[in-house]
Symmetry: none
Subunit: 492 residues, 2 copies
């Protein structure tokens, strides 16, 4: 049962789908890689592009500088719709990001990452349904392939196009719902300027009641879901410095310690045999899984073996912290990962060198109620206690954000569930995600508001990897879900 | 007590020193970087230059192609002196190389690497004497700065100039000594064509009794030495493959194993707490150090703390296999080194990736009588036994060469010691080197001959690094030593 007006919006969206996808491709063509200073101007262009789209839907838009000195960071796009006089629902903050990950290794892309293409599903792909934790659902479908297709431009676009459709059909900006939109340009590079921005623009944000973010996945193809928790993150880079110059490994091998080998030895101690992280106190603040939660997750019929098969691994690669299932480890347990490591000669062939230093990028995915800053500091302390004689550490913090778990019985979550039901005809699953959306923790801390994660990605979308894609069916689900959310908010 | 004729040669060498250095600078100006195809013609020019020098001293010279197809490799210069009818000494093979290492990082050179300059010693440099294992001796002196200054054009030049001087003073080619000279152009790129060349030209080489190589160091400034052993080398590259694609560390962290972490854990087991290599059988073929050898090395008053200070490390960084001194570890014990390691994201900033694979370049310095092939195979087997579930290894062999230790009581070594005594007035030390000179092992295997390493470098010559230098005093010692060697050979 959906309202007549929503039915009209759905019809409009069906007609406008190709045009909407074409607009998305235009946005995707802008290489807004936030972590690389070479793409500074492109980030600004991508922000401007989103601002223009929002403005065309009637919202009041600003593109605001960030950073210190002002403008050192990538801009944040803000937009507001005042809401109809009759609107009684919550003031909704929509957060998304227009920046994207780097594209390397670029040689593995089947088409240039910033030349979006619509591609048919590869033959045989996804025939067994969704990869990742969620199985079931239909087969893989047509998709948009480009960097940012699903993370996060494509998902933001589902919201933008719903605003556009409601304006066209109802004549009211955002269908009369009171929105504040905030699109960030540094999510993929640690959101380093976001906290300061939120504090500086408290006036704009202080009346918001709830945040909606579309930057997560469904449970699988055709299995809509609401994510009620995400993990936190503490991302560090550590360099072990030894001799003040590279050494000849013949003349020096055996005479003194090798930074490559010492880094390897120290990092190998980060996990015990049960794959638990060994940093003292690491698990002290972890909120234990409840029996109800474990039972509910077990009932989602997720398919760990199927997900491993999709990435070329056999069932025995289902390995992680002892005593927990794959889903529990991803959604409810913290982990430590070496995201990058490098030291010495890494070119082709042989060079007999002992390097002066070696580096690792080590990050921690955290769950409620772990403090990322405490974990980061404890890690640095743990390393310090393992300094090889005469060597020294250099530490860098590439950003932290707390994990978030929101109540599953709030009015906001109920509205979102109703919207997904209206959009898809299916009751959405309640799931968590192992990824991190630090802004949710920040908004909780700064504004006291919870976040509803209503996402439309799939586990096999190759987020952060070559050939990132967003399936058209998922895009459609997203656009309809946001349109239905607006309808549900109007009805409160 | 030196012969009248040698005294005459010394006098001639003194007069001709500046001219000899000017000739060396001419040779150094030819950028004969063998590993880089862009310098192919320059390598040929450098070979031709050496051929002309040898021809001017009266030897019969050829510049012979190498490689398959013929000429694919860089040429080898051969030259022979038949020896006087009265000559009763050994047929000596002199081996050297005219190719040089690449110059990167070129921005660290204080003068262009192929524009040789004579420079005064930097103020304060080397005031404490030699770096490296050898302390003592005088302060740093005037030096020739250029790529190849000491490795190996400068050292080869000390031999070439001694031939020239003997011809001028005595009228006989090479003072009447029977020599075969072999100058290679691929030493710095793995000597990939040398073994085939030696086999194909067995007729030229089969009568040689002993090889002399000048490509090692003295014990320190003013401390002449003969190197009676070098370590062998087995250089490998190993890649651990996990998932068939890079993964998002949020969505996958904790769900499966991470190739970076698994590589780190496996490699950390390569050494035990005593810094002994843990590969089964690794030490089985190691020739134990004799008490006499250990006593002799201890008596050389090497300065490990001083050498560490030169590379910015405190005395407590004197760490290696338990139970052995720094000198013993470099000269007489094998070692395993991680020369390079890389996996995942290695650019600036943060990327939350679990990589599909991770790679390490691992090499072993070996001592007599270890077989490099056995060690390489045992390492690969050891890795195979540590394959994480569902993962696989990829192995590459970047070359092997056996270690060499020659008898210290041979007639050849006695002649060389006498020559160094005559040249410097000092009894040379008997030392070993931790570096590798694979040609010595090749000549032993193919021709059954030993090698006398009579080298004139210093530990701080910056071999393979920017601002490579050869001190004039070392050059002078080399020229006189080779001249005295010819005199000693004539007297047999």
């Amino acid at each position: 049962m959906i309202s007549r007006q929503l039915a009209g919006v759905f019809a409009h969206l069906d007609e406008a789908e190709n045009a909407g996808i074409a607009r998305l491709c235009e946005w995707l063509a802008i290489p807004s890689i936030s972590t690389d200073p070479a793409y500074r101007v492109e980030c600004k262009r991508a922000a401007q592009w989103a601002a223009d789209h929002l403005r065309a839907s009637g919202l009041s838009v600003e593109v605001l500088p960030t950073g210190q000195p002002e403008g050192a960071g990538h801009p944040i796009v803000t937009a507001t719709s005042a809401g109809d006089a009759a609107y009684k629902g919550p003031h909704v903050l929509f957060y998304g990001h227009y920046d994207v990950q780097p594209v390397d290794p670029v040689e593995l892309w089947e088409s240039p990452p910033f030349e979006p293409v619509i591609r048919e599903a590869p033959a045989g792909a996804g025939a067994r349904g969704g990869a990742g934790v969620g199985g079931g659902g239909g087969g893989a479908g047509r998709r948009i392939v480009a960097r940012g297709a699903v993370d996060d431009k494509g998902q933001v676009m589902t919201f933008l196009e719903s605003l556009r459709a409601w304006r066209q059909v109802s004549g009211s900006v955002a269908g009369g719902v009171r929105f504040t939109v905030m699109l960030e340009g540094e999510e993929e590079s640690g959101s380093v300027n976001l906290e300061r921005f939120v504090r500086a623009h408290r006036g704009l944000l202080k009346d918001c009641d709830v945040c909606v973010i579309s930057d997560t996945n469904m449970l699988g193809r055709g299995r809509p879901a609401i994510t009620y928790g995400v993990r936190g993150l503490a991302y560090t880079e550590v360099t072990l410095h030894g001799p003040n110059q590279d050494l000849h490994s013949g003349l020096w091998g055996g005479r003194t310690l090798n930074p490559n080998a010492e880094l390897v030895k120290v990092l190998s101690e980060l996990w015990d045999k049960e794959l638990r992280v060994t940093i003292p106190g690491f698990y002290d603040q972890v909120r234990p899984l409840t029996e109800a939660e474990r039972a509910a997750w077990a009932g989602l019929s997720t398919d760990s073996a199927g997900a491993l098969r999709q990435i070329g691994l056999p069932p025995e690669a289902d390995r992680g912290e002892a005593g927990f299932s794959a889903v529990e480890r991803e959604w409810g347990r913290p982990t430590a990962e070496i995201n990058g490591i490098y030291g010495g000669y890494t070119g082709a062939g042989a060079k007999t060198v002992i390097p002066s230093h070696a580096t690792a990028k080590v990050s921690f995915r955290l769950v409620a109620d772990q403090s990322p800053a405490l974990v980061r500091d404890a890690f640095f302390e743990w390393l310090r206690a393992r300094t090889p004689p005469g060597f020294r550490w250099e530490f860098q913090d590439h950003g932290t954000g707390p994990g978030v778990t929101v109540p599953t019985d709030s009015v906001h979550l109920r509205v979102a569930r109703a919207a997904l039901l209206a959009a898809t005809g299916k009751e959405p699953a309640l799931i968590k995600s192992g990824g991190s959306i630090p802004v949710a923790g920040l908004l909780k801390a700064e504004l006291g508001i919870d976040t509803v994660f209503m996402g439309f990605g799939l586990d096999d979308d190759r987020v952060h990897s070559p050939n990132e894609k967003f399936e058209i069916e998922c895009y459609r689900t997203g656009v309809r879900a946001h349109a239905a959310l607006i309808d549900a908010l109007r009805s409160l």
